[in-house]
């Protein structure tokens, strides 16, 4: 057993768990959390793909991609959270509309 195997499967599992959460979670905030889990799962897959048996250096390109992915995800998360806050404000302030 090698780390790529272990963490690859871990990543897939995390992705799937995130997927279940994203599909089922009733709570808005928790859905964001779940989506974030998905993204970590996807990151795992790329990092695992980059991994080479130790003496060899890993492939740097996927690392760059994952970093990009993380930044993209934080942006999306920020927007989603802003929407949640705004919606919550609107819902709490008036009930018509």
């Amino acid at each position: 057993m090698t780390p790529d195997l272990i963490y690859g499967l871990t990543g897939i599992a995390v992705f799937a768990i995130g997927l279940v959460g994203a599909l089922c979670a009733q709570d808005r905030l928790r859905r964001v959390l779940a989506l974030k889990l998905c993204s970590v799962g996807a990151g795992f897959l790329l990092v695992v793909g980059a991994w080479r048996t130790p003496p060899m250096a890993p492939d740097p390109v996927p690392h760059a991609l994952v970093i990009t992915g993380i930044v993209v995800m934080v942006s999306a998360t920020a927007v989603a959270l802003a929407l949640i806050r705004r919606l919550q404000t609107l819902e709490s302030s008036d009930d018509d509309d």
Binding site: I12, V20, L23, R85
Partner: protein, 326 residues
């Protein structure tokens, strides 16, 4: 099982999965966020195990740190600012009509199938398969930097990185657009001790951030990680009310947000002359240009992340108009 690290890996993997499940199932939202932060840190650790320190840094700083802060801020906002939650439930931000458990189980079953399928696909994929390794090492000398990840981010695939910065810009524009007219309830104020602590810590963080940025050229670290650390400065300033955004600051803020994008894009276009295409840095100026871009991008990233944390655009509140500005 001859490698003791395998046990560590297994334990770590198990812990990650367990934390993922826990953060989705624990009833208390605050706990969920905390568990998620731990999950993020452990994931970063796992990526270190996979020889990806840059990724681990980015994940820890941005994926976990900034995201965690955003989540906590939102939670705080939902609980105390809008007051919708009150004591009623820490369980859920939004009460919905419940989805039947059958549907949830069906979802879970499908996801189980997906996991199975993906696992089969994963196991069938070539181990340590083809990659960019050879290409990267071949192109490294011409990249202008020593650290391959930085070379990729700012040279080989600089276009992606530019667009990533654009994503951040889009996000901050969207957030400013979305959040408005909120009642300006007091932001959480930290205690005296914390303020003092902040005053001490801030310079140190700035130094660390700058170092990370600099180091990015040769070692793990770089604009994003550096930016994230600098953003932490902003967070502290905001939290301690050492800095309070004012409407008058909007112009500067906008400039700060777009600075990285503009410089990055402008450089990319400016170098495209004399038969060169965009992003094709002249070999002798590559390092300087990359450092320039990285530096300015870091400022933009820091400002953007801090703005994302702060949320709404600093506007002078004119109660009626803003509230009903639709």
């Amino acid at each position: 099982m001859n490698d003791p690290l395998v046990i560590f890996d297994l334990l770590l993997g198990g812990a990650i999965i367990a934390l993922a499940i826990a953060s989705l199932t624990v009833r208390d939202l605050f706990a969920a966020v905390v568990l998620f932060i731990i999950f993020g840190l452990l994931s970063a650790l796992a990526w270190v195990r996979l020889s990806a320190p840059d990724v681990a840094l980015a994940e820890a700083a941005i994926g976990t740190g900034v995201t965690g802060a955003l989540l906590l801020k939102t939670l705080h906002h939902l609980r105390f600012v809008t007051g919708t939650l009150g004591h009623q439930s820490a369980l859920s931000v939004t009460p919905h009509t419940p989805v039947p458990s059958g549907v949830i189980w069906a979802n879970a079953a499908f996801c189980g199938l997906i996991t199975l399928g993906l696992a089969v696909a994963f196991l069938g994929a070539p181990q340590a398969g083809p990659g960019f390794d050879a290409l990267v090492s071949e192109a490294m000398p011409a990249s202008g930097v020593e650290h391959p990840v930085t070379a990729i981010l700012l040279n080989f695939r600089a276009y992606d990185t530019l667009m990533e910065v654009v994503v951040l810009l889009a996000a901050v524009i969207a957030v400013w657009q979305i959040e408005r007219g909120l009642s300006d309830a007091p932001a959480p104020v930290m205690g005296e001790v914390w303020q003092g602590f902040a005053r001490l810590v801030l310079p140190a963080i700035v130094v660390v951030g700058t170092y990370l940025l600099w180091a990015g050229a040769e070692a793990p670290g770089g604009a994003f990680q550096g930016g994230a650390v600098l953003a932490a400065v902003g967070l502290l300033l905001l939290l301690t009310r050492a800095y309070v955004p004012r409407p008058g600051h909007r112009g500067i803020a906008r400039c700060a947000f777009v600075l990285g994008t503009v410089v990055f894009a402008a450089v990319a276009l400016l170098v495209a002359s004399g038969g060169r295409v965009a992003f094709e840095y002249p070999a002798d100026h590559a390092k300087a240009l990359i450092l320039l871009i990285e530096g300015l991008v870091t400022i933009s990233i820091a400002a953007t992340l801090a703005a994302l944390f702060h949320g709404r655009e600093p506007v002078a509140l004119r109660n009626k108009e803003d509230r009903n500005d639709t």
